[in-house]
């Protein structure tokens, strides 16, 4: 599969491919999966349905897509075959997608977020292949509002907080890069990150694949969680500037997300390279055992993305390497914490159940985003150069 892409995308894509090769390598069987029969079981219509509402082919490799808050618009980010970066702004109009704007930039754009912008401004923060962090005003995209060469290598992942009314406190952006560092930026401070998390000198630099903000329930508290290619998950407490917790899930961590960023840490979902995901109950931290977790073998290949429904934190969608989407529900145990033999509180993990699954494509779904404004509206982009608008029905009934 990797070779196929190389051909199609030309030289520049080899960069991408270095990044994703490890992920794709493990997809193995993914392609062999035969399309299932069309046959709804009895209870099919009581379950939520995932509808592919609009599909659109693109002429570039799309890496990320994000809804523009308070609108029916979304942006897609990726790279053209000629090696330049692209941001496209689409709007849903009469059941179709209308391209409103296309912005071409020098470097391929890997990821983007609106998380740190105000509802009025709606500036897009992006990370590119060269390690640059830019903030764009989509109305005037010629020059970035903020620009910094944040990392030595590609910025794999980005997350924002403090904007859009999500999370109290300062607007901050966190970026994770192949250079092994995780940096937190405040758009008000030029040049330097406000926090930087880097491996020890001499220690192997691990490729950081995913970052996520969380625990921002008041102005002081905030954590950053980072996942690495070797399966490490590290939780950094930004208030105390300390590593609060770390664990290893054995396989590369492709995606991390807190169920909500702006409440006291409740749950964290981590998806991994070999098709599993782990749900950690983040309310109770045991001094030695850490957080309780439940894991589930979700897809037959890499789980590329996990995204919680903004309107209901117990529901989340995972996107698999073989173009499949799984909708899950987390159920709490009767008691969320118990005392261990020494009387120390420890968490109890709940269970996850599959609500619905569909296969959209044979290629990995690389990104996924729920509309913050409309329950059940979702976009996803996949490596077959498609962007899809999905509708998930009956979510309010769960």
């Amino acid at each position: 599969m990797g070779a196929e892409y190389g051909k199609r995308e030309g030289q520049t894509v080899s960069n991408v491919w270095n990044l994703v090769s490890r992920l794709v390598f493990c997809q193995g069987l993914g392609g062999a999966v035969a399309g299932g029969e069309i046959g709804w079981t009895m209870s099919a219509f009581e379950k939520p349905q995932i509808i592919a509402h609009i599909q659109k082919g693109l002429n570039y490799t799309v890496f990320d897509c994000k809804w523009v808050p308070c609108s029916a618009k979304f942006v897609t980010m990726g790279n053209f075959a000629r090696g330049t970066g692209v941001i496209q702004l689409y709007e849903i109009q009469h059941g179709d997608l209308k391209l409103l704007r296309e912005i071409e930039k020098a470097k391929p754009i890997k990821c983007g977020t609106f998380g740190a912008t105000s509802l009025q401004q709606r500036y897009l923060a992006t990370g590119d292949f060269d390690g640059n962090l830019h903030i764009w005003n989509l109305e005037a995209p010629e020059t970035p509002v903020y620009s910094v060469k944040g990392h030595k290598e590609i910025i794999n992942t980005i997350d924002g907080i403090g904007g859009l009314g999500i999370g109290e406190g300062a607007p901050e952006i966190v970026t994770g890069s192949r250079d092994g560092t995780v940096k937190v930026w405040d758009p008000r401070q030029k040049e330097d990150p406000v926090a930087n998390m880097e491996p020890v000198q001499g220690e192997n630099k691990r490729d950081c694949w995913t970052v996520a903000f969380g625990n921002a329930y008041n102005q002081e508290e905030r954590v950053v969680c980072a996942g690495y290619d070797n399966g490490d998950i590290k939780l950094f407490d930004l208030r105390n500037m300390a590593l609060r917790w770390e664990t290893n899930i054995k396989n590369g961590v492709c995606s991390l997300e807190f169920d909500r960023k702006d409440i006291s840490m409740n749950k964290l979902v981590a998806t991994s390279l070999e098709g599993k995901f782990h749900v950690f109950d983040m309310r109770t931290q045991h001094p030695t055992k850490g957080f309780a977790s439940v894991s589930e073998k979700a897809h037959k290949s890499t789980v590329w993305q996990v995204r919680h429904l903004p309107q209901n934190r117990e529901l989340f969608l995972t996107a698999g390497g073989a173009g499949s989407l799984h909708l899950w529900k987390y159920e709490y145990p009767i008691q969320r914490s118990k005392k261990d033999s020494e009387g120390v509180e420890m968490g109890v993990a709940g269970s996850v159940s599959l609500l619905q699954n569909v296969t959209l494509s044979t290629q990995p779904i690389s990104s996924l985003d729920w509309s913050p404004d409309k329950r059940g509206l979702c976009i996803c982009s996949s490596f077959d150069q498609m962007v899809r608008v999905l509708i998930v029905t009956k979510l309010h009934k769960i």
Binding site: G36, I38, I51, Q120, G169, V194, R260
Partner: protein
């Protein structure tokens, strides 16, 4: 049934994958097979088609698996996404229309928002917190850190440095902080959440956005059972933009938390905003139900049922309420301890008022998903419910009381008035006293006497019929005056009303009693007031009468609900007649009505001191205790004003005359006899009270009780030992010792006395004597573990006194929980052992720290197991510059471990500290250890770096150390070794 059990007899072989025998791919086999794993494998093989394509068999296998394990992973199929064709036309129209309308709506909103863009932008900017790191240095340690290495900021921090922060900072402080955080209970963050959202400068749309978001957070918290968090988020939502849904949901969460009042208020708000909101009505009904406003609950429920006659929840609640209503009426007969309650659970996430799905849907069809939880809430009813039941209960009891005293009064009136011209009120105190007696008895007793009364009162010929039920006016009195305190009063004036009542105080009082009986409390109070006004100038002579009058007027006020007046009158009555029971009881009830539970408690307690048997007081105490515990938490007792100790003589003095005068009564012991009895009774009563006080940890009162006991009988050994215990608890060791001495004089083999004297001696730091006593204890009973432990400890204290310099002892120091000897004697109060032992421990701790003071000063050093522990210890030592401790640390640390323990944390100051402690303390004791340490120190990670950093003077010190080392001859190392090592140290 597994594959292994069925060897392939037919020789068909096995499948390629999983090696399943071919014959297992068979309808019959699959039908029988209950091994889910095996079935999954079969299904996998069938689907793969490697053994051929059998669609029916595959389907059959799927069905079988579905039946056994519906959630099996093998059943998950890849399905294409649904499209318009997967739905019926209407469904699709709905879905599509929904999206279309949203799109057009959001576009409109978006355009509006652009309009505001420029105006509001700056306002939000101002509210933002400062840039991280620019001004925030939460820890002092951090500042230090950056000072020592100014280039820090530019260099990216690595993980180790992140880790290091912990060590670098004042270890202990951070350690505590860290632990605290780890142990955080799940609710602690709630207090840190702002209750209000700052919405200045936000547009309506944004406020709505925020409010919705917060409400959703609330819904999620509600659904995960975190009701407090839910309330918090609903409150935030309301602070941003008050909505019906948020209020409604908060009401539901408050109901869950049983905060009926808050829930009620929220429902009120909803109904204000949206009159006739079904959910709010339902929820208000629930709060009414639990606040015992059953009538209002029924009203609300019927309103709901008017609109929605099929509302199951409303029906259910209504039937509950009606049953409650029925139950509460005959409650006087059946003392119900628990009550059935309904907590309604309304599917909350549907409460999105106005959003997308319509209201009618959420209220109507939503009912199916609404679940009912019925459970028994024992004693968790609101207070008034209980008190009301209690009141009914007491009422019936007091009717009997009233009747009995009534009959008695008739008898006395007859005898007295016929013989003498004694003023009527002279009879009063007797009757009252009698009633006081009677109150002590159970209702049973009252009943019996009431039955007997008519017989005796036959001469009077009026007032009571055979069933003991007063006729005519008396009935009214009995009924109306069912209130505990008023019962006796009602009985008092039951004589046939004199045709022309004398105008004097006695007459006024009689009139007052009459009026009281007939329920005209205000008028009765007026009469009493007049009587008081006449008697007032009489001063102390008429004190008794005045007291009664006040007491009666208090009863009137209580009836009228004039609680403060009642309290005032009771106070006056009590001034005149301290510790008389009726005013105390009335005052207690008034306090209770005023919700001054603490004071009520004290009064009831006082009543109980006078007479333990007063059921009303006992019940009330139980009730109030519960309330107070709820209000003030576990330490509610501390908030009480001290309960006045009733002097032994007081109640007796007050009773004796009455007891004497009524001695002619059948069934009453003669006063003489009673006196003798009383001493003994008083003694036991006091002792019990004392024990009770000990249980309650009210040692001071216990001491006074025991002292009273000793006044009556000073030959009781147990009292002395008990009092000694109290003194010990209060750390009054001298007194404790004396009591133990006394006890031992009476009984020179009393183990307890010995043990307590040992403790007292210990408290007095008289360890030698303590030791002797403990030895005696163990001699008498070698099985007392506590004594052994004490003995151990005392011995150690003694040793330390002898040898305070011994260092290693410190390590052995452990907290020893001193458990009191488990007293088997019945006079000893059984204590809630945990608490007492804790208290005991506390006091022990107290004297320990007074004892050998050098103890607590020192660091506790134990062998570090890893770099972290070592780092913590060494940092702690470093801050104190405690070379001795450092030497100790080095002495217990194996030199080979040193590089590991130091890891990369070897710093200049620590290095010097190590060198100094080696030089000062260890070289003399163990030169070979010093050598070893120096050797391994040179192998530590940052050693070379260290050497380049240290100053000349410091180098000289190291040199000195080496000189010292080479001076001491040792066979563990040679001079060459030292030379070699010196080179390592670049000397």
């Amino acid at each position: 049934m597994t594959a292994k059990e069925h060897p392939s007899l037919w020789g068909f072989g096995t499948t390629k994958t999983f090696k399943i025998p071919i014959e297992h791919l068979d309808f019959k086999y699959i039908k029988k097979c209950s091994d889910v794993k095996h079935l999954e494998k079969i299904l996998c093989v069938l689907r793969s088609g490697e053994e051929g394509y059998y669609p029916e068999l595959t389907e059959f296998c799927e069905k079988r698996l579905q039946g056994l394990a519906p959630t099996s992973r093998a059943l998950r199929k890849d399905k294409p996404a649904a499209t318009a064709s997967s739905f019926t036309a209407e469904e699709w129209e709905k879905i599509d229309g929904d999206i279309k309308s949203w799109v057009s709506e959001i576009k409109k909103e978006e355009n509006k928002m652009h309009f505001y863009e420029t105006e509001t932008f700056t306002a939000t900017e101002d509210n933002l917190p400062p840039v991280r790191g620019s001004n925030s240095c939460p820890y002092v340690g951090k500042e230090k850190y950056s000072k020592s290495r100014p280039a820090k900021k530019k260099i990216p921090r690595d993980y180790a440095e992140w880790d290091k922060f912990d060590v670098e900072k004042e270890c202990l402080k951070i350690d505590e902080d860290y632990k605290e955080k780890i142990i955080v209970d799940n609710k602690s963050h709630l207090s840190k959440i702002e209750k209000k959202i700052d919405t200045t400068g936000l547009t309506e749309k944004e406020k709505d956005f925020l409010a919705t978001r917060e409400k959703e957070k609330g819904n999620e918290a509600f659904n995960s059972g975190d009701y407090e968090e839910a309330v918090m988020y609903y409150t935030r939502s309301i602070s941003a933009l008050p909505t019906v849904a948020a209020y409604n949901n908060r009401a539901q969460a408050e109901i869950k938390l049983q905060n009926w009042n808050s829930a009620f208020q929220d429902c009120e708000k909803v109904l204000e905003l949206e009159p006739g909101n079904i959910k709010a009505l339902l929820r208000r009904a629930t709060t009414y139900q639990h606040q015992n406003k059953l009538q209002e609950a029924i009203e609300d429920l019927s309103k709901v049922l008017d609109v929605e006659p099929d509302n199951d929840l409303a029906k259910k609640t209504l039937s509950e309420v009606e049953r409650d209503l029925k139950n509460s009426e005959p409650a006087s007969k059946t003392q119900t301890k628990g009550k059935r309650m309904v907590i309604q659970e309304v599917e909350n996430s549907e409460d999105e008022g106005g959003k997308g799905d319509g209201e009618k849907h959420e209220d109507g069809s939503g009912d199916n998903s609404k679940t009912f939880f019925l459970f028994w809430l024992r004693k968790e009813l609101p207070f008034y419910m209980i008190s009301w039941l209690n009141f009914l209960f007491v009422q019936t009891f007091l009717v009997y009381q009233a009747l009995s005293s009534f009959a008695l009064f008739l008898l006395m009136m007859q005898t007295l008035t016929s013989r003498t011209h004694f003023p009527t009120e002279a009879a009063e105190p007797r009757a009252m006293g009698n009633i006081q007696k009677k109150l002590t008895g159970k209702a049973e007793g009252g009943k019996r006497q009431a039955r007997g009364a008519p017989r005796r009162g036959r001469a009077a010929g009026a007032g009571a019929d055979k069933r003991g039920r007063p006729r005519a006016s008396a009935t009214a009195g009995g009924g109306a005056n069912g209130h505990p305190g008023s019962g006796p009063v009602a009985g008092d004036p039951a004589a046939p009303p004199p045709p022309a009542a004398p105008a004097g105080p006695a007459g006024l009082k009689t009139q007052g009693n009459e009026l009281f009986k007939s329920g005209q409390f205000a008028e009765a109070a007026g009469k009493y007031s007049a009587a008081i006004a006449q008697l007032e100038p009489g001063g102390s002579e008429s004190a008794d009468d005045l007291s009664i009058l006040y007491s009666n007027r208090a009863a009137c006020y209580l009836k009228e609900g004039n609680c403060s007046g009642c309290i005032q009158d009771c106070n006056r009555a009590l001034e005149l007649h301290p510790f008389s029971m009726k005013p105390l009881l009335r005052r207690a009830m008034a306090y209770e009505a005023l919700e001054q539970y603490g004071k009520a408690y004290v009064d009831y307690k006082t009543v109980l001191q006078i007479d333990r048997g007063v059921q009303l007081a006992n019940d009330s105490i139980n009730r109030i205790t519960r309330i107070l515990m709820e209000l003030d938490g576990p330490n509610w007792r501390e908030k009480l004003s001290p309960i006045p100790a009733v002097p032994t003589s007081a109640p007796l003095g007050a009773w004796r005359p009455t007891a004497e005068t009524t001695s002619q009564q059948v069934g009453h012991p003669s006063s003489h006899h009673q006196l003798g009895m009383t001493d003994e009774k008083m003694f036991t009563a006091l002792k019990e009270e004392g024990n009770q006080c000990v249980k309650d940890k009210n040692y001071k009162d216990a001491i006074s009780k025991y002292s009273e006991c000793l006044k009556i009988n000073n030959k009781e050994c147990a009292i002395y030992t008990n009092r000694a215990l109290c003194y010990l608890k209060l750390c009054q060791f001298e007194e404790a010792k004396q009591d133990c001495d006394q006890a031992l004089q009476i009984d020179n083999g009393n183990v307890k006395a010995f043990y307590r004297r040992a403790l007292a001696h210990k408290g007095l730091k008289n360890y030698q004597k303590s030791l002797t006593d403990l030895n005696k204890v163990l001699l008498l009973d070698p099985n007392i573990a506590e004594a052994k432990m004490e003995l151990e400890e005392i011995t150690r204290f003694l040793n330390i006194k002898d040898n305070t310099s011994s260092f290693n002892k410190q390590k052995e120091r452990k907290k020893i929980e001193i458990q009191e000897v488990n007293e088997s004697n019945e006079e000893e109060p059984e204590r809630p052992s945990e608490e007492v032992s804790a208290a005991c421990l506390a006091s022990e701790k107290g004297d320990k720290s007074n004892g050998p003071p050098e103890y607590s000063e020192k660091l506790q050093i134990s062998k570090p197991n890893n770099a972290y522990e070592f780092g913590q210890v060494i940092n702690a030592i470093n801050t104190r510059k405690d070379k001795e401790a450092c030497a100790h640390l080095l002495a217990i640390t194996a030199p080979e471990d040193l590089p590991m323990l130091l890891s990369n944390k070897l710093e200049g100051d620590i290095f010097l500290l190590l060198i100094q402690s080696l030089k000062n303390d260890l070289i003399a004791k163990d030169p070979s250890l010093v050598y070893q340490h120096l050797l391994y120190l040179s192998k530590a990670e940052r050693f070379k770096m260290m050497l380049t950093l240290i100053s000349k003077g410091q180098k000289e010190k190291i040199e000195q150390l080496f000189d010292d080392l080479s001076d001491t001859s040792n066979n563990h190392f040679t001079l060459e070794d030292i030379q070699a090592l010196k080179r390592q140290y670049e000397l």
